[in-house]
Symmetry: C2
Amino acid sequence: MEKAEIPGKTIYRLSIYHRCLRRLDENQIETVSSSTLAKAAGVNPAQLRRDLGYLGTFGTRGLGYPVSELSEAIREVLGRENLQPVIMVGVGNLGAALLRYDGFQKEGFEVVAAFDAVPEAVVLRGIDVPVHDVDQMPAFVASNNIKLAVLAVPAAQAQEVSNELVDAGVQGILSFSPTVLQVPDSVTVNSVDLALELEQVSFFVKKDGKGNTPKPVKG
Amino acid sequence: MEKAEIPGKTIYRLSIYHRCLRRLDENQIETVSSSTLAKAAGVNPAQLRRDLGYLGTFGTRGLGYPVSELSEAIREVLGRENLQPVIMVGVGNLGAALLRYDGFQKEGFEVVAAFDAVPEAVVLRGIDVPVHDVDQMPAFVASNNIKLAVLAVPAAQAQEVSNELVDAGVQGILSFSPTVLQVPDSVTVNSVDLALELEQVSFFVKKDGKGNTPKPVKG
DNA sequence: TCGTGTGAAGACGTTCACAGCT
DNA sequence: AGCTGTGAACGTCTTCACACGA
């Protein structure tokens, strides 16, 4: 019965470990200890071991973890064995920048199409993903069996577009709109609110007169 | 002795409440109950009351909270009474999009200058913030007493630029580089890793065969 | 009666500390 | 000796549930 639930925070950190491991692997390093990897990932060694414990038993006592094997195991758990298609909705400032961003591809996601209310207005410099009218989104999602969407529309339209995505069959949304989206429980939403992230930093900066407030760390 | 430490997670939510309250205020709504505001913010009502409890006693039993008064109180705690200057470092895809993004301004931050290794290469369409060579950053930070920086440089340069920012006197960094930054304890870093946020969504989407994994919610 | 404020309980996440394997 | 794997302690955040004021 190896069916322990993996907490969301652990998942997030596993992704970080995965990146570090890939770098180690590229450098031909075959083994790494929890303390070394933990330092690279910015976490406590005990936490790292606890996190890896969810995957099974990989380490060798007195030695450490086998880099490529562990990397592979994490990739499997994260479900990153093959490319996963994603659509982008909203190709304004941010959406366009995200379309040019190669970080998603590097982590195994492929942005296969983009949708905008006014696709004619989109500046296509450096964008090689087709940009369609948002009307065509539901059909595209259905026929290509899309599960993931990145939402980068203005706040005022976010809820409406989110509803359309959910109706079309999307099951996961990464939203950049500064709004709280209401979705059914079956749909996963992750909201990245840029201004709030900055505000978070700001608070802990100005509070350093003497009251030693703890450092904020992403969930 | 009203000196209770406010947890980071509460700070983040206070920012959300603040936004909701501003919207209510614009709509001339004078009073709001914890359950209404909580629903708008996507949290549990008890949590909302607990969070507001850190600020003091504002509500009226049987009635709710005075919208504008509460909004003001939060703004004070967050230290958002006046505009706060921020610099942007790295004006590539993402950096340029963030410069055009008006969300920071709306939350009381002003991006006063941007820096890039190759400022000549920056496409200035829609950007009205001066873009300087990164060499000039330390002097600018010192003479303008800048405390906050947004970092949007490639991963390979992130740590180096981060060091320069810290040396120059920056105390808070919002980083978009997919790397773990090592900084002194006195400096606050908040790292937003776009690909990892998408990965987080992806994991919880594909795990819905039957194992009902919990929904991830930002910090 | 309605809704706040809060003690107490519970859930969750992190870290310690050490037994045990190599 | 060195490092993993993990019970147990600890700390933090969330939610319940209800007393109390308007």
